[in-house]
Assembly symmetry: C2
Homo-oligomer: 339 residues x 2
DNA sequence: AGACTCAATGAAAGCGCTTTCATGATGGAG
DNA sequence: CTCCATCATGAAAGCGCTTTCATTGAGTCT
């Protein structure tokens, strides 16, 4: 089992093709510099030997790895799936390979992953959201590794980001909820600590309610990690409140779907008894009954644009340009108008 | 912007700590060989400089990369998400890094990804299912890269695999469907070409129906890629058939949820008008109304076990041991008993 | 026909690390 | 006290590739 038939190297190819290693390297990387006939011979030798360039060696001599890293909070639910898929597809067509890692929303692990990606020579890195320890940004800058933030956008922040305004989007959704006559509002927010998206979504709600003159002290707010079951439990707690809310606004679709689940189990009718809203516009929101009122985010577009921008940063060496994407309020049957 | 403050190297650390590069290397990789005091000085130097080992260089001198690759068909829906998440978490705790790539069920791309992972020095590779071109397996063997298959298990196949028996599982589900009195059955299968899981699931149904003495020619079967909308469309076509089936068995939960969606749009009641079944037991199946009758697969367990086994293969050099996992028929409200 | 340009190729250095191998110091055994 | 393990460390080779720099030969121009 440990019989190592040596992996063919570039030198082997050179020998087989009767040329110098330099020529093989050129044939592979800048075929324009090599004559047709030589190119042909090299190609044959490569095929015959089943040669694959050694990535480590290559990354050591060349300065580029054609690799982009992405660090996302989770792969478990679909929040990032669609966007990352689009990101990866675009990268692939640009000739780059994507390295993904996820960290269960743990900033320690995230910081470690940044170092790992740097070690591996990632030409650029995609991060989710703004908030993380300053030292992470410092490390990236010191290492001169281009990075881009996604899934968030804040006009007042200089870091390059491609995403949407979480606060404004949720503010708008809250607008809609108020316009439909709801005044007795409860909130199930994602964990806000260290999470700018969750924090800003919550802020979008509270700011809008304040404008409306609603006493925030009277608004029940439960914070919990993004997870279906947590959404269910939070919903149940809200329903046991003496003053039952007419609408429960959730920090994302996963929480909202969890809430709808529990509602059904408890025999609470959505939306006639209670209205529910989500955020993200993932597939889940479309398939539940009734369909979920939510904020639809342009996942795929965001992924594609992020890929384009990050590659541009890498190749041009220029500083990244931020871009705000529009989100869209989608009103479905999970909310009822009291007006 | 292009001001390169050189990335610190191991030599820099050596200089800063006043020791030889060899000692630094040892401090990092086999601290046991280095004296306490030296170790301490090296550690300080590493921190002071913010040193990170260069992965390419390391992988060139060492034979291991502590990297495992996984190639999955898709990240877009949740079919693989949970299992891969568990896989990655286990790998992480074993000290390995996971490299994921997805290929939209394209075997060409998959073959390319295998070579890419080999290039990058993956110590081992996880693949989904059995079917792929023989040359891929030959390449892996020639390169002496341990690989493990997951999401499938076939007792008669020698390749190491950790998964469940797709055929037998679907056979059992079909058992259940028949036991509930259904005889007029239609099928929405995933694309079977090049996909052993889809093929075997379909086979599980047809074999069981044959045993029952049902004429297969009379059983409508639609093949379509795994996607919600495809499930919807296929369902609609089935419903337009003159002899409407009493149950639609779907190749996975995604197709089934698509079917349920369209049923609702068409005003067809599930399960009173038509029953629907899925396969996989992903979250989606739990949140739709009514809940989906499906085959629950132990995603997380499979991911963990696969990580353990693959790492064991890598570290021991032994040939991988296959393991069959049990699946579970989950009967929910999406199916009605005609008996 | 001589001088020159340019395309195609090779020689060799060097990227940052690990790992023999060799060396010096230390300390216990005889 | 001398000898020999033993431990901690250093010197240096080499991993597989890319990339200057130099060289050659062929074509171009006058």
């Amino acid at each position: 089992m440990t019989s190592h038939q040596a992996v063919p190297t570039l030198d082997d190819v050179a020998k087989a093709a009767g040329v110098s290693p330099a020529t093989v390297s050129r044939s592979l990387n800048s075929p324009g510099l090599v004559s047709k006939s030589t190119l042909q011979r090299v190609k044959s030798a490569v095929d015959a030997l089943g040669y694959t360039p050694h990535f480590g060696a290559r990354s050591m001599s060349a300065k580029r790895t054609m690799t982009i890293g992405a660090i996302i909070p989770t792969m478990e639910n679909a929040i990032f799936a669609k966007g990352i898929q689009a990101f990866q597809e675009r990268l692939h067509s640009l000739g780059y390979t994507l390295l993904i890692s996820s960290n269960s929303y743990d900033p320690e692990i995230e910081a470690e992953q940044v170092r790992t990606l740097a070690s591996r020579g990632a030409d650029g890195i995609l991060l989710i959201g703004y908030w993380r320890e300053e030292k992470v940004y410092e490390f990236l800058k010191q290492r001169n590794i281009p990075f881009l933030l996604a899934w968030a956008f804040a006009a007042n922040n200089a870091l390059p980001a491609i995403g949407f305004d979480n606060r404004a989007s949720m503010y708008q959704l809250c607008d809609q909820v108020l316009a439909m006559g709801h005044r007795n509002i409860a909130v199930i927010s994602g964990t806000t600590e260290g999470n700018d998206r969750a924090t800003n979504r919550l802020k979008g709600i509270t700011e809008r309610l304040k404008v409306e003159g609603i006493d925030l002290a009277s608004v029940p707010i439960i914070e919990t990690p993004y997870d279906i079951d947590n959404g269910s439990d939070a919903f149940e707690r809200l329903m046991r409140l003496p003053d039952r809310p007419s609408v429960v606004m959730c920090g994302n679709d996963v929480l909202a779907v969890g809430a709808m689940q529990r509602a059904q189990e408890m025999g609470i009718k959505i939306p006639s008894d209670v209205s529910i809203t989500g955020f993200d516009g993932i597939e889940l929101a479309r398939v539940v009954t009734p369909k979920l009122t939510t904020v639809r985010v342009p996942h795929s577009e965001m992924g594609r644009l992020a890929a384009d921008e990050l590659v541009w940063m890498v190749e041009s060496g220029e500083v990244g340009r931020s871009q705000e994407l529009a989100s869209e309020i989608v009103v479905e049957k999970s909310i009822i108008s009291l007006a």
